[in-house]
């Protein structure tokens, strides 16, 4: 426990020097124009460099650039870092940095009572207060008494620090975020060098802007060192976290997913054909892959989601691994075409970066409500494999696995990510691609396996996997025709034969079910393979569930955490494993979709813990739910 987590608002007696903390949650908030996301990202990078583990949660406003000073224009960035392994961006912030009244208005309710507050007093005026919806000035009317606050006229300080560079007032104020970063660097004893290098690279074309920002950064840092400050501001050192040795970087879920697709294609010995239509929060994957078109990647920004998935199918037909990506509304539009890939048994990866629905919903907010869509969102009997990514870095491994399954089983694979892990960042032990296990694809050969007396059999299945041969155009002797009409086994000619249809339906289903033999058995993330209660999760709920169970186990409770990566099919032993717990609690950011699947499959009384607010679970919410089930008090 650290000085920040004291439950009282009265400051602890002054301690000279810095206290040791285990972990701290800091939330930066300000106007969209204040450069909050850059401020947060840079602090995260410096923090990672210092050896702390961390997790971040960028919280964008819905509007592109809402008018300055409005509450709906507030942009926030939360980071949880410390000397232990960090699993989430944290529940309530210990420290809130508010760059204007609107930010204070929106974010104050999240701050721990007794938490620390750093505000730019210079941004508080008659006008800005009204814009934020404040009748009176919270800095003076006692609203903030429950918090330990430091008010600094950051605006003025910044203008002062950069005045020598002769920027316009507007541009000069743009440096506020760097001044603040400098101060926070000092609080947590961070290095500035990397940031300075980055600033000079970033503003290479405008040296004076670069230097002004550097000056602001240094001024903020200097302020921390020299100014007369209440002990509360005195920052704290956090010991490095127990992290495996290796080369690290911070990575967002979008980056890891894009790179995982590239790695998967490489391991399959294929080119990657990626086709997508922009949509929040899925677009970054398109941006990242397009920027890497020189590394075995071809990308298409299609005219719509249907064209996107269709072009990807065309890419797979032609011998690349076709991948498409979108969020809920776009995934729904792809349903019919995914059915074509099911019927023609072509490899295809569909990435769904989930967001809050239904319909347009809340595009910038997170949710896990597309699991049923992934499982059942197609007409006819059209099973596909479904995977869920648990964290930013896990997106890499899941993407690789998706390409493996798609190519080995000639099937569409749905990958479920969400807006939270897509934008969140995490330190990542960078893998050596050369050391990953390859799974090279073998295309059909004339007169090869799939052939009978010279004639090519595009639907003769591999006895082991049940997959049909993959025969892209270009090879003489393998010319054949495929399509979405039911096909006769083996030759693949159009067939309306009743028995053949039953057989093909069964074989397509059996092929997907068979994947269960090709994936690891399910093991608990925490706890024993039996016990009083298991919290089951999938996707981005990993962090809060794992942390909650961790804490509960420290309290001596017999709780386990089971987290699914393979959602269809599920590991072969899952039913038996779940049956070994007194209570199975499935925590999901939806109405209980996985819970429903488990109940149906295993006739097991799995209970759902549902949260559908557009916000990730708080550790504490999961703890409370478990304690209730176990009849313990919080």
């Amino acid at each position: 426990m650290n000085t920040f987590s004291t439950q009282t608002a009265t400051p602890p007696e002054h301690v000279s020097g810095r206290t040791q903390l285990e972990s701290v949650v800091v939330r930066f908030a300000g106007d969209s124009g204040d450069g909050i996301q850059v401020l947060g990202a840079k602090f995260a990078a410096a923090t990672a460099l210092s050896g702390n583990d961390l997790a971040t949660f960028p919280d964008f406003p819905a509007e592109i650039r809402a008018p300055a000073g409005t509450t709906y224009g507030v942009s926030a960035f939360q980071i949880n870092f410390g000397g232990r392994v960090i699993k989430t961006a944290g529940d309530a912030p210990d420290v809130l940095v508010a760059m204007n009244p609107a930010a204070l208005k929106v974010e104050l309710p999240n701050l721990r009572s007794g938490g620390q507050l750093l505000v730019d007093a210079g941004s508080f005026s008659e006008r800005t207060l009204r814009k934020a919806g404040y009748a009176a000035n919270p800095l003076v009317d006692g609203t903030l008494d429950a918090y330990r606050r430091i008010e600094i006229d950051i605006s003025a300080m910044t203008l002062e620090a950069v005045k020598s560079f002769g920027l316009s007032q507007k541009d000069a104020l743009r440096c506020k975020n760097m001044w603040t970063l400098g101060l926070v660097y000092w609080m947590y004893d961070r290095e500035r060098d990397a940031t300075v290098v980055w600033l000079r690279r970033r503003f290479a074309k405008q040296p004076d802007v670069a230097e002004a920002n550097v000056a602001a950064l240094n001024a903020g840092h200097a302020y921390g060192e020299t100014a007369e400050l209440s002990g509360d501001l005195v920052g704290s050192v956090l010991p490095p976290a127990p992290i495996a040795p290796g080369l690290y970087r911070t990575v967002t879920g979008s980056e890891a997913l894009a790179w995982g697709l590239m790695a998967g294609a490489h391991l399959a010995g294929l080119r990657l054909f990626f086709s997508s239509y922009p949509i929040t929060p899925a677009s970054p994957i398109l941006h990242i892959l397009t920027a890497n078109r020189d590394a075995g990647v071809e990308t298409l920004q299609a005219e719509d989601e249907i064209a996107a998935v269709c072009a990807a199918i065309g890419g797979s037909y032609a011998g690349a691994i076709g991948v498409t990506s979108s969020s809920g509304p776009g995934i729904a539009l792809k349903a019919e075409a995914i059915g074509l890939a099911v019927a023609t048994e072509l490899p295809l990866v569909i990435v769904d970066t989930q967001r809050a629905g239904p319909s347009t919903g809340m595009p910038t907010k997170t949710e896990q409500s597309d699991l049923n869509l992934a499982m059942f969102g197609r007409h006819g009997e059209s099973p596909v494999a479904v995977l869920g990514a648990r964290s930013p870095s896990d997106c890499f491994d899941v993407a690789v696995e998706a390409v493996r399954l798609a190519t080995r089983y000639m099937t569409p694979v749905m990958v479920l990510s969400d807006g939270y892990i897509a934008n969140a960042a995490q330190p990542w032990n960078i893998p050596d691609i050369a050391k990953l296990r390859p799974f090279p694809v073998r295309f059909a050969e004339a007169g090869g396996g799939g052939s009978a007396g010279g004639g090519f059999l595009p639907y003769a299945r591999d006895p082991e996997t049940g997959a049909r041969p993959w025969a892209p155009p270009g090879k003489a002797g393998l010319e054949h025709r495929i399509g979405g009409i039911e096909k006769g086994a083996d030759f693949g000619h159009i067939s309306y034969d009743p028995g053949n249809h039953q057989r093909m339906v069964d074989e397509r289903a059996g092929k997907i079910a068979g994947i269960a033999e090709d994936i690891p058995l399910q093991r608990p993330e925490l706890g024993d393979d039996h016990g009083a209660l298991a919290v089951v999760g999938w996707g981005s709920t990993y962090g809060p569930i794992n942390r909650a169970v961790d804490v509960l186990r420290e309290r001596g409770l017999d709780v386990a955490h089971i987290h699914l990566r393979h959602l269809n099919p599920v590991p072969a032993n899952l039913g038996a494993l779940l049956a070994a717990y007194g209570c199975v609690l499935v925590a999901e950011m939806n109405s209980g979709q996985l819970a429903g699947l488990l109940r149906s499959r295993y006739l097991l009384p799995a209970e759902g813990l549902s949260k559908i607010t557009g916000q990730p679970f708080k550790i504490e919410e999961i703890q409370r739910a478990v304690l209730e089930r176990l009849g313990e008090s919080a």
Partner: protein
């Protein structure tokens, strides 16, 4: 003709698959199929390098009957799927076969964008002005008044002109032919194949069951000569056996027909076809019988940079591990040594 190697020269029959053709007896699709098989043979095309991608409709059954690679996809999406095929494998010769419903009703958006992007494909739109496969409802190209199961009192919707739509979408090659006029159709198919970029070909196709003789006004034995004008680049726009021609009506900014020899009209007064002039192409595309003849042949052919043929071979070969390692290591990285571990 599934043989392990593709002989140098193939006959039309070698492009016919072993599948029984299942169109209605007398359907115009048969003639187009024959013309295509002969065309590929004469072009010396290689079956393994040739791909037919179609949507859904009677016309879209086409790929099953070709001994090439073929993909019978879903309704309206052939242009999008073909774009993926071509981008992933530019060396393939990709033909899209679609219908007036498949290509201009449900598939209109993909048609717009494949033409706009100028993807190097041949796009054949079999226009029978009807939804054949679903038993005869009117289509977006059906003329006003078409009686069908979904328009018992006759359709009221203004039809779209495939060639005018294509020009508006930015197509760089627009041509038109007729199912049963094999020689002309083959010539058009060859120019389409020769054109680099998206080549849009409208083929008037007779649906004998649900829309028989809808083109009779200009395909009928008697009407044909007076009602068909064959456009050839650089040649005067003559028809009716050279007796009549087209002239520009300058004040009206429109085309008018003139009879050579009559009131002093000479060959010199007749417009000469310029396949690179889009305005002329639009004027020709808009001509309708009986007032004007129907313009056939290559109305517009003005090549432009094609899409998806990547200069750099980089994207054409799987990535190397080194390249990926380098990408993953760009930007800020740091090393954690065993020292920093805590027991």
């Amino acid at each position: 003709m599934n043989v392990a190697t593709s002989p140098a020269t193939l006959k039309a029959a070698d492009f016919a698959s072993d599948q029984e053709v299942r169109w209605c007896p007398g359907c115009g699709d048969y003639a187009i199929l024959k013309a295509m098989q002969k065309t590929l043979a004469e072009l010396g095309a290689r079956p393994e390098r040739t791909v037919f991608v179609s949507g859904i409709g009677c016309s879209s059954r086409f790929p099953y009957y070709m001994a090439t690679y073929g993909f019978h996809t879903i309704h309206g999406r052939a242009p999008a799927i073909a774009t993926g095929v071509k981008m992933a494998y530019p060396e393939l010769d990709v033909w899209v076969v679609t219908g007036d419903g498949d290509g201009l009703s449900i598939g209109g958006n993909h048609m717009l964008h494949v033409l706009r992007r100028n993807v190097d494909l041949q796009i054949l739109l079999f226009n029978n002005e009807i939804y054949g496969l679903t038993k005869g409802q009117y289509s977006p190209t059906s003329r006003v008044g078409t009686r069908s199961p979904s328009s018992p009192q006759g359709s009221v919707e203004q039809p779209v002109s495939p060639v005018q739509f294509a020009l508006g979408a930015g197509a760089r090659f627009v041509a038109r032919s007729i199912d049963t006029q094999q020689k002309h159709l083959m010539a058009v198919l060859k120019s389409a194949q020769a054109h680099r970029g998206a080549a849009f070909v409208e083929i008037f196709q007779n649906c004998i069951v649900y829309n028989d003789d809808v083109f009779a006004a200009f395909t009928g034995r008697n009407e044909a000569p007076h009602q068909q004008l064959f456009c050839e680049d650089g040649k005067p726009l003559l028809f009716d056996g050279g007796r009549k021609g087209l002239r520009l009506n300058v004040p009206q900014l429109s085309l008018e027909t003139v009879t050579l020899g009559e009131d002093g009209v000479g060959t010199g007064d007749v417009l000469v076809h310029d396949a690179r002039n889009k305005t002329l192409a639009s004027l020709l595309a808009a001509m309708q019988p009986p007032v004007m003849p129907v313009a056939l042949g290559v109305l517009y052919d003005s090549p432009a940079p094609t899409f998806g043929r990547r200069a750099d071979a980089a994207a054409r070969t799987p990535a190397r591990a080194e390249a990926l390692n380098e990408i993953l290591r760009r930007g800020d990285t740091w090393t954690v040594t065993a020292a920093s571990e805590i027991a």
